[in-house]
């Protein structure tokens, strides 16, 4: 886990009933620069436990000294978004991780097709400044429900003109994913951020259209889903831990003082790969291959079975 940065909230804006925007400045010194597509982990101290959620930086990277995130209130969440919506005010202090980028623009793309589902618009807000500065060719497709998940819609429409394509679910408009692949120039890359079903559909379509894997880029807002409690034993230290249903294995390990290298906390980057020696595993990551899953798991999202003990090589 990289070092933390202490920040202060200097602005809070309610963009829609479920989307709230926060502006942070560093308490001490300056905020590190970041590349568009980066996210930060925000430490959310709720009810005596500590949650760390990852949020895309949506501010313009050229606006130095400021980080801005927009958070959608998730109904079935573990409380992180609720904490941000209901508890955090201007003047409050938070700890965040350094920016890290798992969703960067590709330097060889001739044309960039950006596809956002709801709150998935956030990384693309940061992309726009960079794309415009480069004079790059791009188009943005934004699927939302007006009045609810259409944050920044008006601003985008005005700024991007013809390059903006909005699909309002409230008006019965649907994004036809197949059309995203029709008649695009050679060397087009597609970037998608939004719910898992949107990512899955686009992956299938890209493959069906003969696109090479390297031309599709995605960022899933995959926070760990709650699950059943389970027991873990650490072979090297002999510690035994109970992982509650609403904690990830990684969080339980950290709470017990066991630091595991980690980055995305969403099962995609591979940093927290941990060997296990026995026990049932419910793999929820998007990183390990089938064979690897026989001996390793990603504690940020995956869980042990509810009977028996998961034995970790830690």
């Amino acid at each position: 886990m990289s070092a933390m940065i202490e920040v202060q909230v200097t602005d809070v804006r309610q963009l829609t009933p479920v989307v709230r925007e926060f502006t942070f400045v560093a308490l001490d010194g300056t905020l590190p620069g970041f590349s568009c597509g980066s996210h930060v982990q925000v430490v959310l101290p709720i009810e005596g436990r500590t949650l760390r959620n990852a949020y895309s930086l949506m501010s313009d990277p050229r606006e130095t000294g400021v980080y801005r995130i927009a958070v959608r209130l998730q109904e079935a969440s573990r409380g992180g978004s609720r904490y941000l919506h209901e508890q955090v005010r201007v003047g409050d202090r938070l700890r965040i991780g350094v920016p890290s980028n798992l969703f960067a623009l590709h330097s060889q793309a001739h044309h960039h097709i950006l596809v956002a589902g709801g709150i998935g618009i956030t990384p693309f807000m940061a992309y726009l400044a960079e794309l415009e500065a480069r004079g790059a060719s791009f188009e943005l497709h934004y699927a939302y429900r007006s009045g609810l998940t259409d944050a920044y819609g008006d601003e985008l429409r005005e700024r991007l003109g013809e390059r903006f394509h909005g699909y309002d679910a409230a008006a019965g408009q649907r994004l036809d994913c197949t059309s995203l692949f029709a008649g695009k120039p050679l060397g087009s890359h597609l970037y998608v951020c939004g719910p898992q079903r949107l990512l899955d559909e686009l992956k299938l379509l890209a493959s069906a259209h003969g696109w090479s894997a390297g031309r599709l880029h995605w960022e899933a807002f995959a926070a760990p889903e709650p699950g059943q409690p389970f027991t873990v034993e650490l072979t090297r230290s002999g510690q035994r831990l109970q992982v509650p249903g609403d904690h990830s294995l990684l969080e339980a390990l950290e709470a017990a003082g066991v630091e595991v290298p980690n980055l995305c906390r969403g099962g995609v980057c591979g940093q927290c790969t941990t060997r296990y020696l026995s026990g049932e595993v419910e793999h929820r990551d998007h990183y390990l291959g089938e064979q690897q899953r026989g001996e390793a798991l990603m504690p940020c999202v995956s869980r042990g079975g509810c009977s028996g003990t998961l034995l970790l090589d830690l």
Partner: protein, 342 residues
């Protein structure tokens, strides 16, 4: 403690380069054991003892003015030792910003940076530079940005584009390489440009693990490692392009001149994430020390004897040591108590 720069010495022709006792003391001797094998010897680049080569991100030493003159000389003969592919322009500015910020903060007696929005003033006292420019506007600098700043920083710099789960050498300033060439490696991926390294390294999986590690370097958390080879004479520019000028010198080593002619060449490699471009900077800071200077530290001389004596032939061949290796080992034997007793 402020760095005092020596008057200009040469790294070619009459080879007037030499190390002061201070430079010898802080030399990054790379061997922690009596034998050497390839490994993923990457570590977080946490600042170490004040005065050491590991204290700052970018080390400036007594040879600064000499080395910058040498770089200028190389570029005059061969301007294409600096290459920046068009998509690396942002990374070039990132590099300029990072070097200027750190040099000004770490060596305030020599460098200063004043910024008013995008109107910057950069002062480099040792080189007599006083430059006002607009950050982001290359037309306001006398050189392309990467070239501009690396003409004022010691060591080579490769700038790597991160894409497709890999790193590509799409930009760099390379005037003191250990027998490679940026023109040849331009556009290559991480494993491609390492292909010439002996098979043992590839079989150990060194490059797979190293690549994973490098891809995950975060802003503000750079990593470093040491690499080593040997050079005849204190010659900085041992590029593939100029092999016809220096390759034959490997045959000039005799028992009489070995201590003065043969140099240990150590690269302090430093890898920070470039914030706005998400590219990776690969700094290759090169230190030279003659065997004679090195032997002023008997522990080093003894260890080097054992490392070179027992080095696998494949590695010695790759590092270009073969022709003079025995002469060096024979000379170093006098510093090894075990060998003398045998």
């Amino acid at each position: 403690m402020p760095v005092v720069m020596k008057p200009v010495e040469t790294y070619r022709g009459d080879f007037t380069f030499s190390n002061s006792p201070q430079a010898i003391a802080r030399f990054p001797f790379p061997f922690a054991e009596d034998s050497y094998m390839y490994s993923v010897n990457i570590e977080p680049a946490t600042p170490r003892e004040p005065g050491s080569v590991f204290e700052h991100w970018f080390d400036i030493d007594e040879h600064y003015v000499s080395e910058m003159a040498e770089r200028g000389c190389v570029l005059e003969k061969d301007p294409q030792r600096c290459l920046v592919m068009p998509h690396m322009a942002q990374a070039a500015w990132d590099t300029l910003e990072m070097l200027m910020e750190h040099l000004a903060a770490d060596y305030p007696e020599h460098f200063a940076l004043e910024r008013d929005g995008d109107q910057w003033l950069w002062i480099n006292r040792p080189l007599g530079i006083d430059q006002r420019f607009t950050f982001g506007d290359a037309s306001t600098l006398p050189f392309e940005p990467l070239e501009y700043i690396t003409r004022q920083a010691q060591g080579d710099f490769a700038v790597l584009d991160q894409r497709d789960g890999d790193l590509f050498m799409d930009a760099g300033m390379v005037t003191c390489p250990a027998d490679w060439s940026i023109k040849f490696d331009a556009g290559m991926s991480f494993k491609q440009w390492h292909a010439p390294v002996p098979g043992v390294a590839h079989q150990l999986g060194v490059f797979d693990r190293a690549l994973k590690y490098l891809l995950n370097i975060q802003v503000g958390h750079p990593v470093r490692r040491l690499n080593w080879t040997m050079t005849i004479n204190p010659r900085m520019d041992t590029s593939s392009e100029t092999f016809h000028e220096w390759g034959h010198e490997r045959g000039l080593v005799t028992p009489e001149n070995v201590a003065r002619l043969v140099h240990l060449r150590v690269e302090l490699q430093f890898m920070p994430r470039l914030p706005r471009s998400n590219a990776l900077l690969f700094g290759i800071r090169t230190y030279l020390i003659s065997l004679e200077e090195l032997a002023s530290n008997p522990v080093w001389a003894c260890r080097l004897h054992r490392v070179l004596r027992d080095l696998p032939d494949e590695i010695a061949d790759y590092k270009g040591l073969t022709r003079y290796r025995q002469t060096v080992v024979d000379w170093l034997r006098q510093f090894d108590p075990q060998a003398k007793a045998a």
